[in-house]
């Protein structure tokens, strides 16, 4: 304020005098400080991207056709065996290849063999797992989130109930992801009901209810560590994001649409179905992409509910089927078996290769390759959601 009053005294005679040179200089200097801070943040981001791209891209891309490291995308992580043959050439093979190689070359003497866990093969398993988890999560979250948003925007009137709901959503958004993990573990993995036979019953008392007239029990013993539990946990976590985004897209639709429809005698639901939802669709699409972006990157909630560090099979392989049951029984048990498989997941895989194995020249391709692929995927999704938002905002103008 001091400078301000100085200025006034100085320019007493000329109230509309231009600002002093000194004033302008400080202004420029301070704005440069703000500008530098802004670009500093962007520089950090650029450095992180750059580092991962520079070190990760060579793992994924190849100089000759097909230009992509196919093996990296078509195999699951395995132990990497590094060994030297007697003639001094060094070879790196994934464990299954190594066994095969040993069978094919029985005479060759092997020197200096050492293994690196999780560093061989590719990342097919984690990719598939992440995709499945994300799909399950987004289907559940979109169904519930959509309905909630419709209620909040179309049906609700001001009152206590709505305040409580809004408060709950707001608080849900702030809960740490690891707490969602604990919650998912407690509810989905260890409590939710399943129908089992007596031999697989792990609980007693009121938590095991014999179904009338059968040998089966309805047991509140949880689904175990599986993708359904992980997907539900993630869905709960992402719910506030989806609700907010869906509500926004509903809000953007002009009131006139509804009023016109209602004036023509349509019921409330007809109005929503024909005059609101079709126009909200793009916004909902954006919301789901945004939700996928959030969910795909999360690790903590799936650490105890769904993910495994190592798994040989893909989730749909080797499902146990009881041959005695009928067609529907088999179908049902197969579907349920599929959803109760545990999976590998990209973020958990990255955690494993970052934290549990030491850095060396042999493990680095897997480490950087996984991170690169994962980051590119998530970034593409994020960019897609930004693009969709801008695109539809421009297109939908009433």
């Amino acid at each position: 304020m001091n400078e301000f009053s100085d200025n006034q005294i100085l320019n007493k005679e000329r109230p509309f005098a231009p600002q002093t040179q000194k004033r302008r200089q400080t202004d420029t200097a301070v704005s440069w400080v703000f500008r530098l801070a802004t670009y500093g943040i962007l520089a950090c981001a650029a450095y992180i991207f750059g580092d991962i791209i520079v070190k990760g891209a060579p793992v994924v891309f190849r100089a000759e056709a097909p230009f992509i490291n196919v093996e990296f995308f078509t195999r699951s992580p395995e132990t990497l065996v590094v060994f030297e043959t007697q003639d001094g050439t060094e070879r790196q093979l994934a464990f299954s290849d190594y066994s095969q190689w040993k069978k094919d070359n029985p005479g060759v003497e092997i020197a200096k063999e050492h293994t690196h866990s999780y560093s061989g093969g590719g990342i097919l398993g984690p990719l598939v797992g992440t995709a499945l988890l994300t799909i399950i999560c987004i289907v559940i979250a979109l169904l519930i989130g959509q309905a909630t948003a419709i209620f909040l925007n179309e049906y609700s009137s001001k009152g206590r109930f709505i305040n409580v709901i809004r408060l709950a959503i707001m608080n849900l958004a702030g809960v740490p992801s690891v707490v969602f993990g604990l919650f998912g573990l407690g509810l989905f993995c260890l409590f939710f009901p399943v129908i089992t036979t007596a031999s697989e019953l792990r609980v007693e008392g009121w938590r095991a209810i014999q179904l009338f007239g059968t040998e089966k029990y309805l047991a509140f013993q949880g689904w175990g560590t599986c993708m359904l539990a992980g997907g539900c946990t993630l869905a709960v976590m992402v719910l506030p994001v989806i609700i907010t985004a869906c509500e926004e897209s509903l809000k953007a639709i002009p009131m006139g649409f509804r009023e016109a429809s209602l004036a023509l005698g349509a019921t409330k639901w007809q109005t929503i179905r024909t005059s609101v939802l079709p126009y909200a669709f793009p916004g909902m699409l954006t919301a789901s992409v945004l939700g996928i972006t959030r969910v795909a990157g999360e690790t903590a909630p799936i650490m105890f509910t769904a993910a495994l560090a190592h798994k040989d099979k893909l989730p749909w392989q080797g499902l146990a089927v009881n041959p005695e049951s009928g067609f529907f029984g088999r179908m049902l048990s197969q579907v349920f078996g599929f959803f109760t498989e545990s999976v590998q997941a990209m973020p958990y895989h990255i955690y494993t290769v970052a934290a549990r194995i030491p850095q060396s020249e042999y493990t680095r391709p897997m480490q950087y390759g996984s991170v690169f692929v994962f980051m590119v995927l998530v970034m593409c999704l994020s960019a897609l959601s930004v693009f969709l938002r801008i695109h539809y905002r421009k297109k939908m103008k009433w």
């Binding site: 690891v178 009131m255 005698g265 970052a354």
Partner: protein, 692 residues
């Protein structure tokens, strides 16, 4: 959303057939289809409440069961006398800190004189081992061949000796045999020699290639720097170092000799120091032996107590087994075994009797040791030639004071101690919240104290906030107020884009890049004024804090930018009209008006940071200990563990329903309430100051 409800249209019109305002369709309990649809949607919406309640229930279900179990454990801890023994244990621990500081100071002083030579030798060893590793293939082969050659030569000598002993007249046959052998051995030797002669230059060449690589001469330790001349000598020494080389290169040998000589001379100088340190160690011997003696007593009592706790369970299991077996003999045996299970509570008064008996002994020992230690610490040299030793001596003196007060406290506590004293329920709660140790799977006693985890989380969050807020708010001011529109449209999405980087990727970056980078930067000399520099660890509070700051920037930026955006345009227009410059307007009018929103943004950023898991799990170093604040701000260079990290790390490994498991749920509950409180606070601030 105050639309007119279609169901409340006048009913008179509904009688008109085919009219637009038809009557309601079917109803159940007076509710029609529209109402059901409405209930469906409101039901979905209330799911948010249900989920929040369920989270509370499922956290609380496990977490609240923690306290009874914890209380039980603490009761056993007191009853068995472990608590008593830990009073002595505290003294021993404090003394150990004192002693190790004095000891390290001594060695720092001792090695100080030969530091130059030791550093050079360390550099030499680093290069040597690198070269050895890289050339191991050739080197191993050469070594094998040299071994073979040695064997052959030995055999040859032996054979020749034998040959000389034999009398040609008598042992003609043997001589022929030996001669044959000798010629064979000679042939072998001739075969080996050229191979070796070939391998030697090969090894030399391989070594030279590595030595020529400038990376070989870059050391992890920045203080290792070699002159051109020294490098040349080391190069010679490494090249000379073939598998069959005898002794060291003269230069290396000389270095070793000088180093040893200087150390010996220094030891002579420091003989008093050494004597003091040894005397210190000896002074603690009685206390240490008393401690281990008492420890055995308490462990025995603890075992008895555990036996007693599990007895009913074991008995029930045996009886159940007996009920199931049909063989009467087996049944009788099992019932007998079940009856044999001791269900009577062990007599802790007898078990802990030796502890009470040890009080006077301990008092005598502790008082004596206290005076001895005080005297000895006074004898420690006042001055030291190295910075490290001075620091250590300072720490040792401080540790002496701590030790002294610990002894007084322990003596008092022991006098009052009673194994039968009730352990209050509140005591078990405070033992969790203010407990200084988180020790699990120990053979002594498991402690579940939140404090080390909480301080870790808090420190990391504070660092992150201190770094993130200025950057994020500056960026928000710049983007919202100062930048031209086209720049706004580029920068804003770019910063928001950062939010999409998965946390595990950032954690990965922290381990692989930032950690090493920070450590290298911290070793730069002119930065040594920064607290905590130079850092010895890669995974530290600072590293995690910086990454979390980066994560929190987009959150704080977006919210702060919103807050600035919400400031009515008239404010800045008025200010500008009064002749204030753009910057004056921004800093003195717009910014203060948006202050509440910015504070709320920082608070929400804090909520996001303290709940973040993967980055801290990967980067914070995971050391469960309250950071040592004696170094002031330098504490940021230490590793720590966090509340989120401990859950993620340990939950996968513990038994469902055990005390440890419940402790982790309890930590989760604390986190949950912290996040609720932060959220609530931010909302309150926003609402309170919203009306400008």
């Amino acid at each position: 959303m105050s639309q007119s409800d279609p169901s409340s249209t006048p009913s008179a019109d509904s009688k008109i057939r085919g009219g637009q305002f038809r009557k309601k369709g079917f109803t159940v309990f007076g509710l029609d289809l529209q109402d059901f649809i409405r209930f469906f949607f409101s039901g979905n919406a209330s799911l948010a409440i249900v989920i929040l309640v369920l989270i509370c229930v499922f956290l609380a279900r496990e977490a609240l069961l923690f306290f009874p179990d914890h209380h039980q454990g603490l009761k056993a801890y007191r009853k068995s006398g472990q608590e008593f023994v830990d009073f002595v244990g505290d003294e021993v621990n404090d003394f150990t800190i004192l002693y190790s500081n004095a000891n390290v100071a001594y060695y720092a002083e001792l090695n100080q004189t030969s530091l130059e030579q030791d550093n050079l030798l360390a550099a030499y060893r680093a290069v040597q081992s690198l070269v050895k590793n890289e050339t191991s293939r050739v080197r191993d082969r050469l070594e094998d061949h040299l071994d073979d050659l040695e064997d052959v030569v030995d055999d040859l000598e032996e054979a020749e000796e034998d040959l000389a002993k034999l009398d040609p007249a008598v042992d003609g046959e043997k001589i022929a045999e030996l001669k044959k052998e000798i010629s064979e051995l000679n042939a072998e030797k001739q075969q080996l020699e050229p191979v070796i002669a070939e391998l030697r230059p090969e090894l030399r060449k391989a070594s030279e290639t590595i030595l020529n690589n400038s990376l070989t001469w870059k050391f992890d330790d920045a203080s290792l720097k070699l002159s051109e001349e020294q490098r040349e000598k080391f190069r010679e020494a490494v090249l000379r170092d073939e598998p069959d080389a005898q002794g060291d290169h003269p230069y290396v040998a000389e270095l070793k000799k000088i180093s040893a000589g200087k150390k010996a001379a220094a030891a002579e100088q420091l003989v008093d120091f050494k004597a003091t340190v040894t005397a210190l160690r000896d002074a603690a011997k009685p206390l240490k032996s008393l401690h281990s003696k008492l420890k055995r007593v308490a462990s025995e009592a603890k075992r008895e107590s555990e036996k007693f706790d599990t007895a009913p369970g074991r008995r029930a299991a045996l009886l159940e087994g007996a009920a199931k077996t049909s063989d009467p003999e087996e049944k009788a045996r099992k019932i007998k075994m079940a009856e044999a299970v001791m269900i009577k509570e062990p007599d802790f008064a007898t078990l802990t009797q030796p502890l009470y008996a040890a009080i006077p002994e301990h008092k005598a020992i502790a008082e004596k040791m206290r005076t001895e230690v005080a005297a000895l610490v006074k004898q420690l040299p006042e001055k030291a030639s190295t910075q490290g030793a001075r620091e250590r001596l300072k720490h040792a003196r401080k540790a002496e004071r701590t030790f002294d007060s610990t002894v007084s406290a322990s003596l008092k506590k022991m006098d009052k101690w009673n194994h039968d004293k009730r352990y209050s329920v509140i005591g078990s709660v405070t033992a969790f919240i203010f407990g200084k140790d988180w020790v699990t799977n120990s053979s002594w006693h498991d402690f579940y104290g939140l404090l080390p985890l909480f301080t870790g989380s808090l420190m990391i969050s504070i660092i992150a906030l201190v770094v993130a807020v200025p950057f994020a708010v500056s960026a928000a001011i710049y983007v919202n107020q100062l930048a031209p529109v086209h720049e706004q449209n580029l920068v804003k999405p770019a910063i928001e884009f950062i939010e999409a980087i998965p946390s595990v990727v950032l954690g990965f970056f922290g381990i692989f890049v930032l950690g090493t980078m920070l450590r290298n930067v911290s070793q730069v000399e002119w930065l040594s004024w920064v607290p905590g520099f130079p850092m010895s660890e890669r995974l530290t509070i600072l590293n995690a804090g910086l990454l979390l700051a980066f994560m929190a920037v987009p959150t704080i930026f977006t919210l702060a930018e919103d807050a600035l955006n919400n400031v009515p345009g008239a404010f800045s227009e008025n200010s500008l009209a009064l002749g204030a410059s753009k910057l004056q307007t921004v800093l003195q009018v717009v910014f203060p008006t948006a202050m509440s929103g910015i504070i709320a943004a920082a608070l929400l950023g804090f909520g996001r940071i303290i709940g973040e898991t993967m980055v801290v799990l990967l980067v914070a170093g995971n050391k469960i200990k309250i950071p040592d604040f004696s170094e002031g701000l330098g504490v940021i260079a230490q590793p720590a563990h966090t509340m989120t990290g401990i859950i993620a790390q340990e939950l996968g490994e513990v038994d469902n329903g055990s005390l440890h498991w419940r402790a982790l749920f309890m930590v989760g509950m604390v986190l949950f309430f912290i996040s609720l409180a932060v959220n609530y606070g931010a909302q309150k601030i926003l609402i309170r100051f919203q009306k400008v």
